[in-house]
């Protein structure tokens, strides 16, 4: 009798994935959901990229060539929204799904059914958002910051779908964040104290708290917009007693922490990778954790630096200037720690390491321009110019996106059991690196010389740098098809990877076989 029960239990414990479309629709497995998030994110990255390339095509030379100004505004808006909410954030949630349970020795996420929901909301949200392109009046055309009153009084009717889409993305993000927090707090392997958690887990824990704190604020601001548009309220309408600047305060109270939501997990990723390929432990683990917390807390105190020109009082201007400058300190600590980790190591330059090194250098350059932007009197000259565009693309492309590439190359052999081609990986890196710098570095010059953001046509003195920038953008964009090829090629063929994959790695995810079995850690591992 007992033997029968045992067999049944065994089958129950060792069943593989379901087959067919049902596997993906109903899955509660963190690895399946992680993969779906990553594929979804890549699809959105391509869509957002096509929009960006259309923008760069229009800006290739002065004059209006291929799009009219109204459509141009739709392109910039949708490019921003899709890259932020469709590409970067889901990619990090995908990495969290794949890695957090494996890193902390848990069998799955804490709330697997909710995990399925939080993913499946996204394709619907983005289908709706993208469908606005084909609606009468076109897609949202007010910038990804959708400042009222432009977005509440002069927007196309599709703005209502945009608001609903944002609500859905917010719901998805909050559910994802709850899941991450519940998993990390409750499901760590015995012996894994907080101060023994891998950096990636730490940064995601902090990111998840940021998400829970600010996504409702975004939901609030779009709801207020909805009320203003359809229900006759005047939150943002000065003529009705409202305040257009209130919109910006509420938006940026969400928006500034949001930029850290898009960078902290990447900090975690490079904090895993640099030690591996330096063959040395991460320098200053404790200060890394505290620096991350400090950045997260400061991120709530600096939102008005996006609004230096709206006419806030001198005292407010000074407060936000000082607070913003202060963020350079913990960020600096992190950069110094990464450099110190490499110092006196034994370094090799595999693709994930190349992306991580580029991350540290280019993110620092983005940090420098960020510091310049923090200086309020100088910001009056930089604000809303291409200098800002250069700045945030330098933190987001080499920061968030290179971080994601590094993570994919680093853990891909663990996920699918095969090694990627190092030659192709390095080619992808170098083409991306050159393309990205060619695209975004000249934008610093454009901004300083006086070119405003979000203009479809420009004065003649900006022509040369725009041309270079467009060529760089096309190089960067098309290079990503190589990345797609590399990933598919690795999944389908490629040399078998060992369990440890990389020499001298640390962490629970390297103790399980490659490819990682469908179910792992049914008995929790002991961490000493």
């Amino acid at each position: 009798m007992s033997a029968v029960v045992e067999t049944e239990l065994k089958e129950e414990n060792h069943h593989g994935p379901a087959t067919g479309i049902g596997r993906w629709l109903f899955t509660t497995n963190h690895k399946d959901i992680g993969s779906m998030y990553l594929w979804f994110s890549f699809a959105m990255f391509m869509v957002g990229g096509c929009l960006a390339l259309t923008i760069r095509a229009e800006l290739f030379q002065p004059g209006l060539q291929i799009v009219d100004p109204g459509f141009f505004n739709q392109l910039t808006t949708m490019h921003g929204l899709i890259m932020v909410f469709g590409a970067v954030m889901p990619a990090f949630v995908g990495l969290a799904n794949w890695l957090i349970p494996m890193m902390i020795g848990a069998p799955d996420m804490a709330l697997p059914r909710m995990n399925n929901w939080s993913f499946w909301i996204l394709p619907f949200a983005f289908t709706m958002l993208l469908s606005t392109f084909f609606m009468d009046g076109g897609a949202p055309n007010f910038g990804w910051t959708f400042y009222a009153p432009l977005s509440t009084t002069f927007a196309p009717p599709s703005v209502t779908f945009f608001i609903f889409g944002v609500h859905m993305m917010g719901v998805s993000s909050i559910m994802g964040a709850i899941n991450v927090i519940a998993t990390i707090l409750n499901m760590r392997a015995p012996g894994m104290t907080y101060m023994k958690m891998p950096m990636f887990v730490w940064t995601w824990l902090i990111t998840a708290f940021l998400l829970i704190a600010v996504m409702p604020v975004l939901a609030g601001v779009v709801t207020m917009m909805l009320m203003d548009i359809h229900f006759g309220t005047s939150f943002f309408n000065a003529a009705g007693g409202g305040d257009p600047v209130l919109f910006q305060h509420v938006f940026w109270f969400f928006g500034h922490p949001e930029v850290y939501i898009m960078i902290l997990p990447a900090f975690g990723v490079v904090s895993q990778i640099i030690p591996t390929f330096s063959r040395k432990r991460l320098f200053g683990y404790h200060s890394m954790v505290w620096a991350t917390c400090a950045i997260a807390l400061l991120s709530f105190l600096v939102w008005a630096h996006h609004m230096f020109t709206v006419g806030i009082p001198l005292f407010g201007e000074l407060f936000f200037m000082y607070a913003t400058m202060l963020i350079a300190v913990p960020t600096g600590v992190k950069v110094f720690n990464w450099v110190a980790t490499m110092f006196k190591g034994s370094i090799t330059f595999e693709t994930p390491m190349l992306f991580s090194i580029a991350f540290v250098i280019l993110f620092s350059i983005g940090g420098f321009s960020g510091l310049m932007l923090a200086i309020a009197p100088a910001d009056f000259q930089y604000h809303d110019t291409y200098f800002v565009v250069a700045h945030f693309h330098y933190v987001l492309v080499p920061g968030a996106i290179f971080g994601i590439f590094a993570a994919v190359y680093y853990w891909l052999p663990k996920w699918c059991g095969n090694m990627y081609s190092e030659t192709l990986g390095k080619t992808h890196f170098w083409l991306s690196f050159v393309g990205m710098n060619l695209a975004f570095f000249p934008m610093h010059f454009l901004g300083l010389a006086g070119m405003p953001r979000r203009i479809p046509d420009y004065a003649l003195q900006f022509a040369d740098f725009n041309l270079i920038s467009s060529l760089g953008a096309f190089l960067f964009g098309f290079t990503q098809l190589l990345f797609l090829f590399i990933v598919i090629h690795t999944i389908r063929s490629g040399k078998k990877a060992t369990d440890e994959v990389w020499e001298g790695v640390e962490g629970l995810e390297w103790t399980i076989p490659s490819p990682a079995p469908y179910h792992t850690f049914t008995t929790p591992p002991e961490v000493k």
């Binding site: 459509f71 490499m342 370094i347 040369d464």
Partner: protein, 386 residues
């Protein structure tokens, strides 16, 4: 052909452009030495404030460069010296409280050193007291209005770059997209206070040479000031996304010696008086049409297009439209009072009665509308209710 239509995307033009690109990219590579006009830095400007902003910018820039060289220097040196391929053996250290305290404190000191000059510059920028001249700047979609509030002078400033330059049909002028029909004129060496607001959405008034950028927000009045040291023509652009024609909203400021400014002011005042007189005259159809065309091209063509075809659905066509060929009272009403909830503004305060009469007459008779109606300035005054 795909059944889906993306409003505003022109695929044929796109293909033609692809060919153009490769040619021009190639030519650029060939001719890169001849195109020496690469502007890579901010302007030092022509005011004391803009110059201190410029030096602040340069100081921070060089501090960043030095930090960058130091940090990346150590990093590259580590990558060069401690390569595994060179037989480097990893060291075991992974913590040093002393080092971490030092590299927390040094940046704080550097930041304080930056904050001190920044604070004093900022305080100066905020001091708008004791101005000599006050000018109210109002942002509209998509033009600027300048009110000399103590001198009874008020006018609008529109983009003056012809549409055919924008659509690549003629060669682009020297100040392409940075030229206006009526520049703001100010005297040098006087403290000018700007009161910045907007009529519809948020705009931002920015002249780099003065280091002035202030958002124009409906329902708010923001303050900024400048005192220009050198006569000259200074150009800027709207810096806040304000809708369709955000990229076509330039700012031109002409800074002149005081006598020249006073002469200009007197001329402006005289012209305003003459225009007020014109409103009581009787206007011939031909005169109305000629004036109307000019007014239309400056104020209406950006949305409704020079050929009256508009950009539906946002900007309806006027050619053959029910408004333009229906009863003239309705037409006058919509131009004078605008249409709430759309981009159609109320032009009552923006244009004189003569201009309004002329432009409405033009719209009712151009592009084959041929209603034969002629609208007089008196009709406009009646519609305004004064």
């Amino acid at each position: 052909m795909l059944p889906l239509r993306l409003a505003g995307f022109h695929s044929k033009k796109f293909l033609r452009l692809c060919v153009q690109w490769f040619t021009s990219a190639f030519l650029l590579a060939l001719a890169s030495t001849s195109q020496a006009e690469y502007e890579v830095n901010m302007t030092p400007g022509v005011t004391d404030i803009s110059q201190s902003v410029f030096s602040l910018h340069m100081v921070i820039f060089w501090i960043c460069v030095v930090i960058g060289i130091a940090v990346f220097g150590v990093m590259f040196w580590s990558m060069f010296k401690y390569r595994k391929s060179q037989g480097a053996k990893p060291a075991q250290f992974h913590e040093s409280t002393t080092v971490e305290i030092i590299w927390t404190l040094i940046p704080i000191i550097i930041l304080v050193a930056m904050a001190v000059p920044a604070t004093s510059t900022l305080k100066e920028m905020y001091d708008t007291t004791e101005s000599d001249i006050d000018i109210k700047i109002t942002g509209y979609q998509w033009k600027w209005q300048y009110d000399y509030i103590n001198d009874d002078v008020s006018f609008f400033s529109n983009l003056s770059t012809p549409q055919d330059q924008i659509s690549n049909e003629t060669t682009k002028g020297e100040n392409y997209l940075l030229e206006v029909d009526e520049p703001l004129v100010i005297p040098i060496n006087k403290k000018i206070r700007f009161l910045v607001t907007a009529n519809d959405v948020i705009h931002s008034w920015w002249v780099p040479a003065f280091a002035v950028k202030k958002d124009a927000i409906p329902g708010f009045i923001n303050e900024a000031w400048t005192k220009v040291n050198e006569p000259g023509i200074y150009r800027g652009q709207c810096a806040e996304l304000c809708g369709n024609n955000h990229g076509f909203m330039p700012i031109v400021v002409k800074a002149v010696e005081e006598p020249e400014y006073l002469a200009w002011l007197a001329e402006k005042q005289a012209k305003a008086k003459a225009e007020a007189l014109q409103a009581s005259q009787v206007w011939s159809m031909d005169d109305l049409m000629a004036k109307g065309e000019a007014v239309y091209n400056t104020n209406c063509a950006a949305c409704h297009q020079q050929n009256g075809m508009g950009i539906p659905p946002a900007f309806p066509a006027l050619k053959g439209s029910p408004v333009a060929i229906g009863p003239s009272e309705d037409h006058i009403n919509i131009v004078v009072k605008g249409k709430p909830g759309t981009a159609m503004q109320a032009f009552a305060a923006q244009l004189s009665d003569v201009d309004l009469a002329a432009v409405i007459t033009y719209e009712r008779n151009a592009w084959g509308n041929n209603t034969g109606d002629s609208v007089s300035p008196q009709d406009i005054a009646k519609a305004k209710g004064n």
